[in-house]
Amino acid sequence: MFDPNDFNGVAADLVNGEAVPSPACIRTAVGRSYYSQYGFLKHRLEQNYSGSFGDKGWHSQLCLVCSESTQKGIRKIGKALEHLWELRRDADYFPNREVTLTEAQGAVDLAVKCHERIRNLGDNDLHQIHAELQLLIAHVEAGTRRRL
């Protein structure tokens, strides 16, 4: 099975060289750093709770659930994910917003630290994230049904 953490290795290769990377490389790198940790956390959750994401990504919902957790350790993961997600959003969808090499290198290093924290999540932590994510998904889907 593919390990999403390998994405961060690609990001590191893009921004760690001697030469200054192109803006396209910098923007690609921040996206890979984000997906490395989003994918890793999603994988850990789905190991315990198969199919918990359904066929959607629930990116902002996962960031929100983690960054607003009652547990500090999970909130730290959430703020890191949120930071990577915001950089990735600017990089891919807002060409006029600046994304610097320093930010891309910071994203690679942050993803390394975030990986350690996600790896150390226990079953109780994963249960809390899963339960709150399911509540939020149900809320979003109920809102969508009301609008239809």
């Binding site: 490389c25 703020k79 930071h83 610097t100």
Partner: protein
């Protein structure tokens, strides 16, 4: 550096580089020292309510203490921002505070640690209303 709309074909160049390993630098240099003066940019979108302003001012005070504990000092920008918020003269404008290293250069490791520490500090902040509105950029 920004990628203009007219230049989005540059994505194709990245794809080529990734699929041609010889074109991609393979050596990770995580401890490489970069001769830049790094800054950490903290953005808090402000709303009108006085209560929110009061909370954000409290957060800035806490941030200032945290930054000083990290061996950094604040630029005048942060103080201006604090006064601006206290005056109640702002509306929805996202305001930016800049934290500058006391030294003239810092390593990538130092910059990455600042980013990580500030994110942790925000995550540990007790006020959820402030936590939700704060983001950090290290440039």
């Amino acid at each position: 550096m920004t990628l203009e709309y007219a230049g989005t074909s540059a994505w194709a160049g990245v794809a080529t580089a990734i699929t041609s390993p010889s074109a991609v630098p393979q050596t990770a240099r995580l401890s490489q020292t970069v001769k830049l003066q790094p800054t950490a940019v903290v953005t808090v979108p402000l709303r009108d309510e006085m209560e929110e302003r009061r909370r954000i001012i409290q957060f800035i005070d806490a941030l200032k203490a945290q930054v000083q504990r990290m061996g950094l000092h604040l630029s005048s920008t942060l103080l201006e921002w604090r006064q601006y918020a206290a005056d109640g003269s702002t509306s929805d404008v996202p305001l930016t505070a800049v934290v500058i290293f006391a030294s003239t250069s810092a390593s990538r490791e130092q910059r990455s640690n600042v980013l990580s520490d500030l994110l942790d500090f925000i995550a540990e902040h007790k006020d959820a209303a402030v936590r939700q509105r704060v983001s950090v950029r290290v440039r």
